[in-house]
């Protein structure tokens, strides 16, 4: 029983890490920039506004009630929902940043990125198609 208790959190851990792995960070296929996890994090925290190829970034979010967004923020930004919200409210209410554009669903994100060379976003890996490029 004790062993089971120990194994249980491990199992949950494995399950949740596989959920993280299902988040695909996507860009337009024409975008040839190198993107590390820290680059992606800086973009979505409004710290970095250009890709390594010099083009200005247009990062997009899913609506805040999205589970994919939660996973992305936990995994890539290392922050909880309310931490991200608090962080962005500092930028917004000092005029230093504008909230990222938000989409209701992943299909909209994919089609936005497919038609915008400088866009970056994230969706569930199962929603990825040939019109976008996965960078993580």
């Amino acid at each position: 029983m004790k062993l089971f208790l120990k194994a249980f959190p491990l199992l949950v851990g494995l399950l949740s890490s596989s959920v993280f792995a299902d988040v695909a960070v996507i860009v337009n296929p024409s975008n040839n920039s190198e993107l590390s996890k820290s680059d992606i994090s800086k973009i979505f925290l409004g710290k970095s506004k250009t890709f390594s190829n010099g083009e200005s970034v247009k990062a997009v979010n899913l609506k805040s009630n999205s589970a994919i967004r939660d996973n992305f923020q936990k995994e890539v930004l290392g922050k909880s929902k309310s931490q991200v919200k608090a962080y962005w409210s500092k930028l917004i209410f000092t005029g230093k940043g504008k909230p990222l554009k938000e989409f209701d669903n992943e299909k909209e994100v994919v089609s936005f990125i497919a038609s915008n060379p400088n866009a970056i976003g994230y969706v569930d890996r199962s929603k990825v198609n040939d019109s976008v490029k996965v960078v993580n």
Partner: protein, 379 residues
């Protein structure tokens, strides 16, 4: 001619901007209720009547990106403590010269403290408000220019925020409303962040004039009695002032530790030199943050009339008595402990509960306990 050219090209630039610039609205609010724990206690504007007005505020911000790096931001905040009279906290034009350099012109927050930039956005920090003992400058907003340079040195992110401007916003103190002149306000705030550690330092200087009629009257008396030096010290006129802040923040996993030290000095003035600091430690349990803060606030005055003996003349005795009465009244040594929780019960809102135990070492009749509860939100 040159001016006309510059003007014409500005107009041309404005005309070439997209004609329907999108305006983004955002807002934030705090609804705070509080009461002191015993009938004789008064603290931070609260007494033993449960109050919902003193700490509550609503703010609305409109911003628009005009293109080519130019933007406009306006923030209007109405606070219960000001009888809900709205005030512009920010109203500026911004120009992003490069990705790293941003210039602001207009009305803006002076970056005195670590939390100055988003002072009223309670959602962005653990407490209901940052510790009052440190965050007690009369002014938080100025009119002028600033430049923010953000860059990184390897893994260290750095920001340099230089300002120049003036403050002439009316305020109430010593039973009257005055229009101050805090002129040539010049300063620099620097912040360095490495992963879990943030270090901050800021320094400001200004020439401060505050025409309080009681002090002016005393100064006039000293001047007539032939004590020009004492008169100058008593008058708050173009006195060189300095403000220093040193701060750190540690965000390590679920642990948060924050500390700030400040020193305010208005030279040759009857106002005390103020040294303040606080240290806060908090721990995040899932959606609940538990925190405790210890702070000290010390005001020490130069009793510049002490070498004038009593008995020279009844008028001088009166001036000395009145002046020293004022000088000593500005001295204090205060200490406080605040324990609190923040509960993120909603995507855009948090509930906060705090208890503050306040001790005045010079005068224990102003010791007080204060309970506050708040719902804070961003929208």
């Amino acid at each position: 001619m040159k001016k006309k050219l510059a003007f014409t090209s500005l107009i041309a630039a404005l005309i070439s901007l997209p004609s329907q610039a999108e305006i983004t609205f955002n807002g934030f609010a705090s609804i705070v209720g509080g009461t002191t724990t015993s009938s004789n206690d008064n603290l931070y504007g609260y007494d033993d009547n449960f109050d919902f007005k003193e700490g509550s505020l609503f703010a609305l911000q409109a911003s628009s990106d005009l293109g080519e790096g130019l933007g406009v931001t306006i923030q209007l905040a109405a606070k219960g403590t000001d009888d809900w009279e709205p005030e512009f906290k920010w109203a500026f034009l911004s120009y992003d010269a490069t990705d790293e350099l941003r210039i602001l012109a207009g009305r803006q927050r002076a970056p005195f403290y670590m939390y100055s930039d988003f002072l009223d956005v309670s959602y962005a920090y653990p407490w209901i408000t940052p510790p009052t003992g440190v965050y007690d400058l009369i002014f938080d907003t100025y009119d002028g220019l600033s430049a923010i340079y953000s860059t990184s040195f390897g893994d260290v992110e750095a920001s340099f925020h230089g300002i120049y401007g003036r403050i002439t916003d009316k305020f109430d103190a010593f039973g009257e409303t005055i229009t101050p002149n805090v002129g040539d306000l010049t300063g620099l705030a620097t912040t360095f962040t490495y992963d879990w550690l943030t270090l901050r330092a800021s320094y400001f200087i200004a020439d401060t004039t505050m025409p309080f009629s009681d002090l002016e009257g005393l100064a006039h008396g000293w001047s007539q009695a032939g004590f020009e030096d004492v008169a100058n010290n008593t008058r708050l006129s173009e006195d060189s002032s300095s403000f220093l802040e040193l701060g750190f923040q540690i965000n390590y996993d679920a642990l948060i530790i924050v500390g700030e030290y400040t020193n305010l000095e208005i030279e040759n003035s009857p106002l005390a030199e103020e040294d303040s600091y606080y240290v806060m430690a908090g721990y995040q349990f899932d959606s609940i943050l538990v925190h405790v803060t210890y702070g000290v606030d010390e005001n020490v005055n130069d009793i510049y009339t002490s070498d004038i003996p009593y008995g020279l003349h009844p008028d001088i005795d009166f001036l000395k008595g009145a002046t020293e009465g004022f000088l000593y009244s500005q001295e204090s040594e205060e200490e406080y402990v605040t324990v609190g929780v923040r509960y993120d019960f909603h995507d855009s809102a948090a509930f906060k509960l705090e208890y503050t135990d306040f001790t005045n070492k010079n005068n224990n009749s102003s010791d007080a306990g204060l309970i506050r509860a708040a719902i804070v939100t961003v929208f």
